[in-house]
C-alpha cells in the first residue's frame, strides 16, 4: 500500500516543479512578453522618466540608465521639449534624478529643458508630485518612460491624474532570457510587479 505524502513533501515537490518550469522552459519569457506594455511614441509636452535606483556613490542601476538614455533619445528626436527625471538618493549621496540630469546634460540636453523630482519614494508619490509640477506648466500629454511591466501601473496613475499618457518602454531585461538564471530573474520581477499591482488595486490607488 502506498504511504500518503506529508504536506511538506507536496509543498517541496511543487517548489521543485515551479523551479524547473521557470528555469528550464520558455514560460517566464512568454509570460513576460504577454504582460509587457507596448510603446506608443507620439509628440508630447513632456517626457517623464520614473525612478529606479542609484547607489550611494552615484552609480545608476541598469534600469535607471536604460530609462535615462531612452528619454534623451526621445528628446533628441524632438518628441517633447521637457524631460522630468525622478528619483531620490541616499542620505550621503546624490539623488538619482540629479545624476540622470547631469548625464542628460553631458549627452546634449540643455539644462533649461530638464526638471528633477527628488522626494518621491513610490510610483504613486511620483505621479502625485510630478503631476503637480507638470500641471503648473500646462503639460497635458506625456511620454512616460519606465519598464514594460511597470508601465501598466504607472500609466494608470498618471492617467488618473488627468494626463494623456503615451508609453515609451525601456527595459534593462528583455523577454528573451537565454539562461536559467535570466528566466528566474524575469519571473521574480514579474511576481514583484503583480504583487505591487494587486496592492495598488486593493488600496484604491488605481
Amino acid at each position: 500500500m502506498m504511504r500518503r505524502a506529508h504536506p511538506l513533501q507536496l509543498i517541496g515537490l511543487a517548489g521543485i516543479g515551479l523551479f524547473l518550469v521557470a528555469a528550464f522552459s520558455p514560460l517566464s519569457n512568454a509570460v513576460f512578453r504577454w504582460s509587457a506594455a507596448a510603446s506608443d511614441i507620439q509628440p508630447a509636452d513632456a517626457i517623464v522618466v520614473l525612478g529606479a535606483a542609484v547607489d550611494p556613490d552615484g552609480t545608476l542601476s541598469s534600469e535607471s540608465l536604460v530609462r535615462t538614455v531612452r528619454a534623451v533619445a526621445l528628446y533628441r528626436t524632438g518628441r517633447a521639449p521637457i524631460i522630468v527625471f525622478s528619483g531620490p538618493g541616499h542620505e550621503d549621496g546624490p539623488s538619482e534624478a540629479r545624476v540622470r540630469a547631469d548625464l542628460a546634460g553631458t549627452l546634449g540636453v540643455p539644462s533649461a529643458a530638464i526638471r528633477t523630482e527628488t522626494s518621491a519614494l513610490t510610483t504613486r508619490e511620483e505621479a502625485v508630485r510630478i503631476g503637480g509640477m507638470l500641471r503648473a506648466e500646462n503639460v497635458r500629454r506625456i511620454l512616460l518612460v519606465t519598464d514594460s511591466q511597470h508601465m501598466r501601473r504607472a500609466g494608470a496613475l498618471f492617467s488618473r491624474g488627468g494626463f494623456q499618457v503615451f508609453p515609451a518602454t525601456a527595459d534593462a531585461r528583455s523577454g528573451a532570457g537565454t539562461s536559467p538564471g535570466a528566466r528566474l530573474r524575469l519571473l521574480r520581477d514579474l511576481l514583484g510587479e503583480w504583487m505591487a499591482l494587486g496592492y495598488y488595486r486593493v488600496a484604491g490607488y488605481l
Binding site: L8, Q9, L10, I11, G15, I16, F24, L121, T178, R188
Partner: protein
C-alpha cells in the same frame, strides 16, 4: 547552450555521488526513496519559511509606513538574501525535528532491550 551544460554537469556529479554512496560508503540504494522524501520535506519547510518571511515582511513594511511614516521600500522583499536565509531557517528546523525523532527512536530501542533483558533475567531465575 547553458541548459545542456547545467544538465550534464549536475548529472555527472549526481552519478558520482550515487557511485560513491553505494560502492564506498555502503549506502543502500533502496534508502534513496526515503532520502528523497526527506529532501522534499526539508524543501517544503524552506518554502514555508520563505512564504512566512515574505508575508510578515510585506505586512510590517506596509503597516510600518502607515503607522510610523518611516519608509522602507517593498523591493527589499525581492532581495535574494531573504531566499537564502529562509532556506537556512528551513534546514535548521528540519534538522532539529530529525534530532528529536532520532532521540525518540533511540530511547524506544533502549527501553525495548531493557524489557528483553528483564524478561531473560526472570526466565533464568525461574
Amino acid at each position: 547552450m547553458i541548459e545542456p551544460v547545467v544538465v550534464i554537469l549536475t548529472g555527472v556529479t549526481s552519478f558520482a555521488a550515487l557511485w560513491i554512496g553505494t560502492q564506498w560508503l555502503r549506502f543502500r540504494p533502496g534508502d534513496l526513496a526515503t532520502a528523497l522524501g526527506k529532501m522534499l520535506e526539508c524543501l517544503g519547510l524552506m518554502l514555508v519559511f520563505f512564504t512566512a518571511n515574505a508575508v510578515v515582511g510585506l505586512v510590517a513594511i506596509v503597516g510600518g509606513r502607515s503607522l510610523t511614516g518611516v519608509f522602507v521600500s517593498t523591493y527589499v522583499m525581492s532581495d535574494v538574501a531573504i531566499l537564502g536565509i529562509s532556506f537556512l531557517q528551513g534546514l535548521l528546523f528540519f534538522c532539529w525535528r530529525e534530532t528529536k525523532a532520532g532521540r525518540r527512536d533511540r530511547s524506544s530501542r533502549a527501553s525495548r532491550s531493557e524489557r528483553r533483558a528483564g524478561q531473560a533475567a526472570i526466565r533464568e531465575g525461574g
